[in-house]
């Protein structure tokens, strides 16, 4: 649990950080809150020679709600997400999710940007971002580009981000409909055995005008359940459609055996957790 040697850099601007990454190449890693990277370094599973810490870059820390859109700076901590009154009104599912991540001490340190950029299938924010149809702003020395959360994750720890890019901002639409993030875990601080993010909006006629479902830690990437989401919008919410949606989601997950239990159990738990999330979200819609 003693990391290897590394040099530590604390640039005070995005350009400086990107320049460092460019100059240092493969030997450098960006560090945000560090709660994934530092344990990996202590286990010497990661041995970067340079850490580029983003915490001194003030532009990366903000929560802005404007014109029906929410933008969050990558270095915003989970605690800041939880504490934001604006966010609680404009996207209450973010707070509900963040409260189920780790424990209060870690949430003071852990950031939303680190959580979504690391590509760990156990992280909770990636599925939430897919559920919210968020877009990630990626900055490189050559300029910026935008990648949808639903297209960002390729495999465990592999994402659309280039090594020389920094994920700077997360943007998603205001969502004030029904919502739920349901997570089964063994204990505080644990990754999900199964977790589901659900957004459901009740139309004026009582129909389901918008539905979005994504799942955490049930494959090597977060799973956005496009078919199930669309089906709920078309069919409305009732016992049969919920059952169909759950069934559809379970067909596209691929959990693995681990200390949380075998895949068969996780699949069953995922179905239960998802059903509860849908019920909960609809009751709030």
């Amino acid at each position: 649990m003693i990391p290897g040697r590394f040099d530590y850099h604390q640039p005070d601007s995005l350009t400086a950080a990107l320049t460092l990454l460019n100059d240092l190449g493969d030997d450098a890693r960006v560090i945000a809150g560090g709660h994934s990277l530092i344990p990996m370094m202590k286990l010497r599973l990661a041995m970067p020679e340079h850490l580029v810490d983003l915490k001194a870059i003030s532009d990366l820390k903000h929560i802005t709600v404007k014109d029906g859109s929410i933008s969050i700076g990558a270095m915003t901590t989970q605690a800041e997400l939880i504490g934001s009154a604006e966010l609680a009104l404009s996207a209450p599912i973010v707070k509900e999710t963040a409260l189920q991540i780790a424990d209060p001490q870690i949430r003071y340190q852990g950031t939303i940007g680190g959580n979504v950029a690391n590509g760990d299938p156990g992280n909770d924010m990636p599925a939430l971002m897919q559920c919210l149809d968020a877009e990630f702003q990626l900055s490189g020395l050559d300029g910026q580009r935008t990648v949808k959360a639903r297209e960002f994750y390729e495999a465990a720890y592999f994402t659309a981000r280039d090594d020389l890019e920094i994920l700077t901002e997360i943007v998603f639409p205001v969502c004030t409909g029904g919502y739920a993030y349901e997570k089964q875990k063994r204990k505080i601080g644990d990754y999900a055995t199964a977790a589901a993010a659900v957004l459901l909006t009740r139309g004026a006629d009582g129909s389901c005008s918008h539905a979005s479902i994504a799942l955490t830690n049930l494959a090597d990437t977060p799973i956005y359940c496009e078919d199930a989401s669309k089906a709920l919008m078309n069919s409305g919410i009732d016992d049969a459609s919920i059952a169909a949606a759950v069934k559809s989601c379970l067909e596209i997950i691929d959990p693995v055996d681990d200390n949380r239990g075998p895949a068969a159990f996780k699949k069953h738990a995922a179905g239960i957790v998802l059903k509860r999330a849908i019920d909960n979200a609809w009751s709030r819609a």
């Binding site: 649990m1 040697r5 089964q184 204990k187 055995t193 200390n259």
Partner: protein, 806 residues
């Protein structure tokens, strides 16, 4: 003087003696981060050690190449078994009569085993150098299942003793077999089983777990080559024994070794034994002439220092049709890992497992335990319990439930009709123990009444009906547990560690101005000794606990003792404290009589003073007596006021308790909720009720951890699957319920103040309460027993196997 103006009651209260919820005096420094733990020690020129450990569970070590590591600037040395062999320190004796490799001697026997010890100028260089040591292994077949240890194709693990037919505890029938230990009457028990109206059978597995103290193990060794003295600071639950062992192993005279246990951040049995890190730190300091620190990290602690449990207990319990138990049979397969490093009194290779008749009047019983070697870490320590008592209590409390199912009886009633009755104490158990005192029926009835047991059963039955009708997916479990502990080892005639009798000690000095210091042979790891031992003494000698310093852990100053584990501090050192206090009081009586110019027998003790009989206005307070003892020439009496007592207890003490857990179980996810937990403890005389409550809360929380998820699991290749706190379950406040604590008070008849010890009761009684609740929830659906840990997926599997997900 204001003291004299006080009433008797006020004077009594001012002592803060027995029965007072005195605040812990240790907490001021602990809560302010001012504790002094071994890793806080910093010394000029101090070096740091780190281990190269085996990633294989079973392999020959073909070669160790240290060239690259030695070339790293800042690396002082890399020790291997070849370096330790000339000192005869490449192996060390275990507490269980076996021996253990300090560094891999030709082969490794478990994942995480120590292979080489790097010594460097700083901690980071040491870790870097560990990566540079090249070890060539030849992998061997791995044995992780103790039931396969004696099959024809089983690999031989301990080739060093493969030919030895006789071990420390009798004959060995196979190279992978350590011992067979038998207690009770086999023939009589088997005959009862054959003819009994009802026999219930079950194999109960108490899984492998780990004490996982918050502070891991570590040591700083400092050899002073000028004066020839070795000082060893470390996380030792038994510092005096460490000194004696260090002397015997190193050849350094015992007076030239000083062992110090500074503040210890929890022990729970993990810090009783001697570990390779201690030996290597000592050797490294002798070789370099500089202080050497070794502190293990969390993963090293979980994977290489002493584990707990791993007992497969096959049981048969016989009863009449009415439920009167007539016999108990138990065969245990004990997985000891690669070396037999259990921390038990020498004559008890399975500890006090023979307390497995529990709280019940069982006339005939038989116990056999087979110790087996496997490719797992060594240990088998008493994790917050007296030696193997949690295993015994879990076994009998599960067997009672299994028998209740077989009899179709209420498990609370089955217990009641089988309890040892109050008038049967002292009670001779079928497996050889003499229970000192108890009143189980009173405790049991109080517990059942407190939770309104009949109402709980009604609610549970209604819940089952609702479940069957599809109205709920949650089941309710009621976990009953009535445990009897055996603690306070122990009488020297029966109990020793490496030959050292398990007495304990206290030395008291009263200062001229009437305050005092007492030193003991024990060592607190969080138990609050500095608070409670002062209270015992306050009541004995009439000096306020606030004016008494308690000191432990420095072998240069403390009297010899066997340390703190197995709830032995209060039963043994607490008794020594009271006895030493009485010696002080006896001398004080003579001094008081002299000062009051009366005969010794004409004064009597009253709270904090000696009073002339029949003349209450004539008295001398302890404070005045103390001053006189240093300032007056008293004929026939030595100056000063000091005493020492070495106490050899006549018997163990037998704390007991009645615990009830009520849990709700989500059948679909396996998620559990502890709705209610009631814990009644009877630990005899209560010294500090607040500390008792704290101990009970802590022990119950460790019990819930063990019952609901905490385990050291291995895969078939001997890889540890749960080597970090991501997977090894330590409950936080979130997972911990509110506990309701209660008590009865049945003093020990043989202990000077009637106290029995309490620190470990909640773990002993708590585990069966939680496990019984989970198992009880599925009783209505035909389940008899499921093994711990009851984590989500295993509970889900139980429900799934019973068809409850259909």
């Amino acid at each position: 003087m204001s003291v004299e103006a006080k009433t008797l009651e006020e004077r009594q209260a001012a002592l803060k003696g027995l029965g007072t919820s005195r605040k812990r005096v240790e907490d001021a420094r602990f809560t302010q981060g001012k504790g002094n733990y071994v890793d806080d020690l910093k010394m000029p020129d101090m070096l740091f050690g780190d281990f190269v450990r085996s990633q294989h569970a079973h392999a020959y070590v073909k070669s160790i190449d240290t060239t690259e590591a030695m070339a790293l600037p800042g690396v002082i040395a890399v020790l291997t078994a070849a370096d330790l062999e000339p000192l005869n320190l490449h192996w060390m004796p275990t507490l269980a009569g076996d021996k253990q490799m300090v560094l891999a001697d030709g082969k490794v026997l478990f994942q995480g085993q120590e292979v080489a010890f790097v010594i460097a100028e700083d901690r980071y260089i040491a870790a870097d150098a560990v990566d540079l040591v090249k070890v060539e292994y030849e992998e061997l077949p791995v044995l992780v299942d103790p039931f396969k240890a004696e099959l024809p194709d089983a690999p031989i693990l301990r080739e060093d003793i493969a030919d030895q037919k006789e071990g420390a505890h009798g004959p060995r029938r196979h190279p992978n077999h350590i011992f067979t230990w038998e207690q009770g009457d086999k023939a009589a028990t088997e005959s009862i089983l054959e003819s009994a109206a009802v026999v219930a059978e079950e194999t109960v597995y108490y899984h492998r777990t780990h004490p996982c103290p918050l502070e891991t193990c570590g040591a700083v060794a400092s050899m002073d080559k000028v004066n020839g003295k070795l000082t060893l600071w470390g996380t030792f639950q038994a510092p005096h024994v460490v000194r004696t062992v260090a002397s015997m192993l190193s050849g350094i005279a015992e007076h030239n070794i000083r062992v110090v246990s500074p503040d210890i951040g929890g022990g729970f049995g993990n810090k009783v034994g001697v570990y390779p890190g201690y030996i290597c730190a000592i050797v490294a300091s002798i070789v370099t002439g500089k202080p050497v620190k070794w502190v293990e990290d969390r993963m090293e602690n979980l994977t290489s220092t002493a584990f707990a449990r791993d007992y497969w207990m096959q049981g048969k319990i016989a009863a009449t049709a009415e439920g009167k138990i007539t016999g108990l049979w138990c065969h245990t397969t004990a997985d000891h890992g690669a070396f037999d490093a259990c921390a038990d009194p020498t004559k008890y290779p399975a500890g006090f497992m023979s307390i497995c008749t529990g709280s019940y009047d069982i006339p005939t019983a038989y116990l056999a335990v087979d110790g087996i070697y496997t490719n797992k870490a060594p240990g088998g320590v008493a994790y917050r319990c007296s030696f193997r008592v949690t295993e015994a209590a879990y076994f009998i409390e599960r067997m009672i439930e299994v028998l209740a199912i077989k009899l179709d009886m209420d498990a609370a009633e089955l217990r009641r009709i089988n309890f040892i009755k109050k008038e049967q104490f002292p009670y001779q158990s079928a497996l050889g123990w003499e229970y000192d005192s108890g009143d189980y029926h009173t405790a049991w009835d109080k517990a059942l009444k407190a939770v309104d047991y009949p109402a709980l059963r009604e609610e549970q039955a209604a819940r089952v009906e609702e479940f069957k009708a599809g109205k709920t997916r949650k089941l309710m479990g009621i976990g009953l547990s009535h445990f009897t502990e055996i603690v306070g080892a122990g009488p020297v005639k029966n109990c020793d560690i490496l030959g050292m009798g398990m007495f304990d000690s206290c030395e008291i000095r009263i200062h001229p101005t009437g305050s005092a210091i007492a030193r003991l042979g024990t060592i607190s790891q969080g138990q609050g000794h500095a608070t409670t031992f002062a209270q015992i003494l306050a009541s004995e000698i009439g000096i306020s606990a606030d004016d008494i310093t308690i000191e432990e852990g420095d072998t240069d100053t403390a009297p010899y003792g066997l340390g703190t584990y197995g709830s032995r501090s209060t039963p043994v050192a607490g008794a020594a404290t009271a006895m030493a206090g009485r010696k002080i009081r006896a001398k004080a009586q003579m001094i008081a009589a002299y000062m009051l110019e009366v005969h010794d027998n004409d004064v009597e003790w009253e709270v904090d003073r000696f009073v002339v009989k029949g003349a209450p206005e004539r008295f001398k307070t302890m404070k005045e007596i103390a001053f006189a003892s240093y300032t007056q020439a008293i004929p026939g009496i030595e100056p000063g006021l000091e005493a020492v007592s070495y106490y050899d207890p006549p018997n163990m003490t037998y704390p007991f308790g009645a615990y009830i857990a009520v849990m709700d179980i989500d059948v679909d996810t396996g998620v559990t909720e502890i709705r209610q937990f009631y814990a009644l403890d009877d630990c005899g005389t209560r010294i500090n009720p607040m500390i008792i409550e704290g101990q009970v809360h802590g022990g119950l929380t460790e019990a819930l951890a063990i019952a609901l998820g905490q385990e050291i699991a291995y895969d078939e290749l001997g890889n540890v699957k749960t080597g970090s706190l991501m997977d090894f379950f330590i409950p936080t406040s979130w997972e911990t319920p509110n506990y309701v604590t209660d008590f009865t008070e049945t003093p020990s008849p043989h202990h000077p103040i009637g106290a029995k010890g309490v620190g470990e009761s909640p773990n002993v009684g708590g585990v069966p309460a939680f496990s019984n609740a989970i198992n009880d929830a599925f009783r209505a659906f035909g389940s008899t027993h499921t093994n711990m840990p009851h984590d989500h997926w295993r509970i889900w599997k139980t429900a799934n196997d019973l068809g409850l997900h259909a």
